[in-house]
Symmetry: C2
Subunit: 242 residues, 2 copies
């Protein structure tokens, strides 16, 4: 039975296993406060987002990239009038973000433990290698994953490469995550299974319109605690089909 | 014969396959020029190195980390008097470093092509995932490597994990690189083979005293063009022993 069904269950980490977006939201709030003497909140947020997006091709994802984008935006928006001391505060913010405690989502640990008894588990995250490894170590969940894959971007090609490395066919691979753009659509595109667990906040860059999602097959649950039964459901369906 | 000898030949990338250190050396020179109105060159270099070393635990290796350390050092050494415009120049430097053409060392491409006909090749680098992948893509050597491993630090544990993933025993694994600290000693410690190809400049952080090196077994050649014959030499020796 099991051999006909799911073999590998893979998890996204940021905003799927542990809270991440609030860290950025809080820092952005303090960033706009710093620049409020110069511009409106909306304009500051807009410019920061543009700089971040533009810099993805230079820096990739992660806190260090975000920090360099904050510094660049601050210089631009003040036409260079921002002082060294204020920029020093942005660097201090970055270090605090990098050291912030890893707060697991309710039910994440139980879900991982339960599923690890029956399936090979993988962790698939994008972003900064150093930061993601450090968070995984602090989460104390590392030993439960048979494989940890940190990639620069979660494209269909990246998922295809990973399933090959894990020696699993896409039909026996399930991806669990909060981002339609990074965790669900690229996996559905290669014929993998996916379970969407929305997070309370989505970074604008990851947001995807729900229109046109109908063409992709995936499951959706409200909390990570519901993932084991959703996986079981996949497995049983597959078992019956084959 | 071959089955008794070397199976995997792994290469470091920065300063082994392509020039990297000169990029940092040039940027550091411009950095000290920027701060020369405030301090002596020696003091600036010393403080930058201290900040970089201290920040490794926050940031890991790479250009983004180095840039954040330059900015922090500039703020410290000017007691916050450095202006936004000057810091903007440091960010522009970072982007230039990230986009700099990848210049292969003489003989690197031939060596890789020759060895790829007989052995499985791996690329093992540390540092920033995004930057290293981008350099590998620009080097156009990517297709010749059976595996690419980007790690946060090149410890004996990291090499042991890699040999496991590659399903090769350490005795059949050869590592080629310019850094005694990162490429040679940790590999020799787990019973792997190693070939040291010194680069003209070594970052202080990677430098290791030659005293006490006697306890580690490894080969040394002058240029990367001599690596294929050094590998062949290993293979033959092993073939005779077993």
């Amino acid at each position: 039975m099991k051999s006909n069904g799911v073999e590998v269950v893979a998890f996204d980490a940021d905003n799927t296993l542990w809270h991440n977006e609030p860290l950025f939201t809080d820092t952005k709030e303090r960033f706009t406060e710093l620049l409020r003497p110069y511009h409106s909140t909306e304009w500051i947020e807009e410019r920061l987002y543009e700089t971040e997006t533009e810099n993805l091709k230079h820096y990739g994802y992660g806190i260090k990239s975000f920090t360099l984008s904050m510094i660049e935006t601050a210089i631009e928006l003040t036409e260079g009038r921002i002082g060294g001391a204020e920029i020093g505060r942005l660097i201090a913010e970055a270090k605090q973000m990098l050291e912030a405690p890893v707060k697991l989502l309710d039910g994440a640990e139980d879900t991982i433990r339960t599923l690890s008894e029956e399936y090979r588990l993988a962790l698939i995250t994008k972003g900064d290698l150093f930061d993601q490894e450090s968070k995984l170590a602090r989460s104390r969940l590392g030993d439960l994953f048979a494989a940890v894959e940190i990639v620069t971007d979660k494209t269909s090609k990246a998922y295809r490469d990973i399933t090959r490395r894990l020696e699993v066919t896409p039909e026996r691979f399930v991806m669990v995550g909060d981002s339609l753009r990074s965790d669900i659509i690229p996996v559905a595109k290669i014929g993998g299974r996916a379970i969407h667990v929305p997070y309370s906040v989505t970074w604008r860059h990851e947001a995807v319109s729900e229109d046109g999602l109908g063409e992709y097959e995936f499951a959706r649950v409200e909390t990570i605690a519901q993932v084991p039964s959703a996986v079981k459901n996949f497995a049983e369906t597959q078992g019956k089909e084959s």
